[in-house]
Every structure is written in structure tokens, then in C-alpha cells.
Symmetry: D2
Subunit: 134 residues, 4 copies
Amino acid sequence: MTPLFERIQTSFQQQGLMHTLGAQLQSVESGKVVLSCDYQKGLTQQHGFFHAGVLTSIVDSACGYAAWTMMPEDKEVLSVEFKINLLRPAQADRLLATGVVLKSGRTLSVCEGTVTDATGERLFAKMIATMICR
Amino acid sequence: MTPLFERIQTSFQQQGLMHTLGAQLQSVESGKVVLSCDYQKGLTQQHGFFHAGVLTSIVDSACGYAAWTMMPEDKEVLSVEFKINLLRPAQADRLLATGVVLKSGRTLSVCEGTVTDATGERLFAKMIATMICR
Amino acid sequence: MTPLFERIQTSFQQQGLMHTLGAQLQSVESGKVVLSCDYQKGLTQQHGFFHAGVLTSIVDSACGYAAWTMMPEDKEVLSVEFKINLLRPAQADRLLATGVVLKSGRTLSVCEGTVTDATGERLFAKMIATMICR
Amino acid sequence: MTPLFERIQTSFQQQGLMHTLGAQLQSVESGKVVLSCDYQKGLTQQHGFFHAGVLTSIVDSACGYAAWTMMPEDKEVLSVEFKINLLRPAQADRLLATGVVLKSGRTLSVCEGTVTDATGERLFAKMIATMICR
């Protein structure tokens, strides 16, 4: 584990929601964070697929942490806003959520997020998010 | 319980995620649905407030069901996309998520959502969402 | 003309695009700004209605100026991001674009914008925008 | 000129706004359209840079036409909604707006758009847009 991974992991473990969803931190590099989340009945919408809220929760976290990897160590990151397009029903055993920094600024960072199946080939959702450093 | 409430309630109870989050259906009228969600450790981000993903999950459901109240009974509703602005840290005992239909079309509906505290006075988040009927 | 109207008007007249579009400043109050724009062939999309870009341009300006009315006088306002839903083809003689502040913060402000016909009754578009003060 | 370019060009020339802004169709391929727009005083915001409305107008058109390249010939394309993040002041002699299809569906298409300087290296804005075919 790199120091950057450990820094993110420590914060990630304090996110009660990530624990509730069973999400896990997969990888961390400067400007890019990947989370995973395995299918379970408790994460579904009414048709039995992953709920849009699950996709959104994990990719918001991935984007926030991606932004955080490029911020000074004494700063916090908060989501200002995000928008997500749901491209197809999220029918999969496992979701991968990837957050990538598009622009890292002193105050604001803009990130792009994707949610795919475990192979990374089937794109379920695309996010663009604004994060604030403070 | 009105027939409309029952129709939404039946679908709502099939959303595993709403059960996992402890969300509850509060009220249903044509074009407007309200959900609630009580605070628990399992719903937090790293600073102990409600995670943005929780706000988003419940207000997405509220918007989707609000749109559904205005669709023909044999149709399903799916989220196409949404955008949410997080106005302040969501520090509250209980969240109320309200979805209201701004425009109900044959194929697409546009909804506005708000997330507030239990009094309805403290606005935590504002959503605009596009839903599809099919 | 109030001093607030004059302050906005001075900046508005420096927006070359507003002149090009024939947009006009209608009213200014703290937290709310209204612009108008009359129909002309040079503002259309391929079906002869107002182009989405016109609606977006004027309501972005209305939102930005609405945010600016609540900022210290020595500060500038810039659009961080916005999202707009186009509810129906914008077929009208005149558009009214209204920007209203939903949350005014020290750094960021969140505004809601609407574009309607001249009566205010026909809603063509709804915007939510994030503005930065600096 | 390919038949696809001609089809888009014919529609593009009917967009009065594109003429007003001085925008030009640069290239067309299946799922991707590029427009350009040269700097002039009539396209500015109050600090003399390109107005966000210009960036939005041209990249909305680029996204719409990109979606249209993948639709049946007898169908029209309309913007349902879009969201744009403005990453830095758009200070350039020429803007390039590129629309790319992320998902082409029977009813809805999702596109990503970018606005850069003429070199393509300086990214001014990122859009994600939903288009409807009908």
C-alpha cells in the first residue's frame, strides 16, 4: 500500500455508507481512484438491478477521492454538485466506479466518473462532478 | 391509503436499496412524492454527515415515483439522468426528500427534487432529473 | 434606476454576446435578475425556434447577475457550471430569462433559472447553475 | 464532401444562431462532429473572453449533430438537456467544439462535448448532453 492509498483508505473506512453498500477501495493513484461494489439484494431498484443511487454513491466517492489525491494533505474535499447519465440498466455481479480528475484547481476540481461492469467494457453511467477543497 | 399510494408503496418495497437505507414513503399525490430517511452511522460520509449518495438515492426515488404517478398504469419509470447541487453539509436527524413533476411528457418527464431536514426549512440539496416512461 | 440596476447594467452592456443576441436587462433586485430577448431569424435552430444556445446564454447571464447582486461590490462572478433542461420547443415572440439565487455562499452561489414566454406562463427551460465569487 | 457532411451542413446552415455566432462546420464522421468559432467582440462576456453561452451553443450543436449522424435519415434530433463545466476563462482566437456520441439509443442518445482552443490542447469546457430522436 502506497501512502496515498493509505490516506484515502483511512477516510474511506470512515464513510459509513460505503460500508453499508459493501463498497471497496480498489486502487488509488494521483488523480484517479477506483472503487468496486458487489451485487446484493439490498442494493436494488424495483426491477432487481442496481439502484441508480448505488452507482451515484460509489462514483461520487471515487470522484471525490480522485480530487483529494491532488489536494494539499491538510485539506478536505466536499462534493459541490454532480450530474450523472444512466446509460443502461445496471445488471452486473460487480460494479467498478472510476473517478478521474479533469481539472484540479486551487479551490475547485472537476472530475469525470464512470461506472462499468467488472470487465470495464459495459458502461452503465457517466458522471461529471465539481469538488471543493477546504 | 389511496390507490396511488398503494401502487407506489408496492414498488417502493421492492427497492432493496430503500430498505437498506431505512427510507420510508411519506406521502404520494399526483405529481409529488415525499420520502424520509433517518440518520444512522451507516449512512455517513467521512465527516459524520449524511453521504451525498444517500441524499441522491432518496431524492432520485422521490422524483422517479413523482413522475410515475402521472404515467399510465402499465408503464415503468426509469431515471435517464439527474444533477444535484449539495448546498450545505447534511447534518440532521431526519431527511425529507421531495420529488415534484415540472413537466410530464409522453416519453420524458422532468422533475425537481429537494432534500431538507424534517422541518422542511433547511435545504440541503436540489435536484433536477429526467425520467423516461416505458 | 436603482444603484443595483446600474451596477448590473454597466456590466451587462460589456457583454458583447448580449448585444449580439439583442438581449435586454429587464429588472434587478437582490437575488433576482430578469432578461428578455426578442425573436429574430439570427437566433434560431434548424426548425425555426429559438436555439437552445440562446436560452442558455440569457439564463446563464441572468443567474450570474442574480448571484452578483448578493456579492461584495469589489468581487467578480464567473459561471462554474450549469445544467439546463429544455422542456418544449421555444416558440415565442419574446423570451424572459429569470435567475434567482437559491444559496449565496462566500465562495459559491447556486442559482435557479427559468426561461418562459413573455407572459411567464409557458416554461421553456429550467436551469440550475453554480457561480463563483472572486 | 461526404453525404453525411452534406446532410449535417444543410441543417447547420438553417441554424440562424450558428450564422450569427460565425460558427462553422469543420468535420463530420459517424458519431463525431466538430465546429469552430472565431473570436469577435460580439461573442464576449464582461471581461472580454468568450461568453459561456457561446461555448454552450456551439458544443450543444456539435453534440446534437453527432447524435444525428447515428439516427435514421428521416428522424430529427432535439436537445433534451445538457450540463457544462467551464474549466477556465475561454481566452482564445478560435474555439473548437467537438461532440462525440457515448451511447446511441433508439430514443435517447448521450453525447460528450468538449470546447478547446484551436490546438485542441487547452480544454475550456466539458459537456454531457442527452438528445432525443423523433
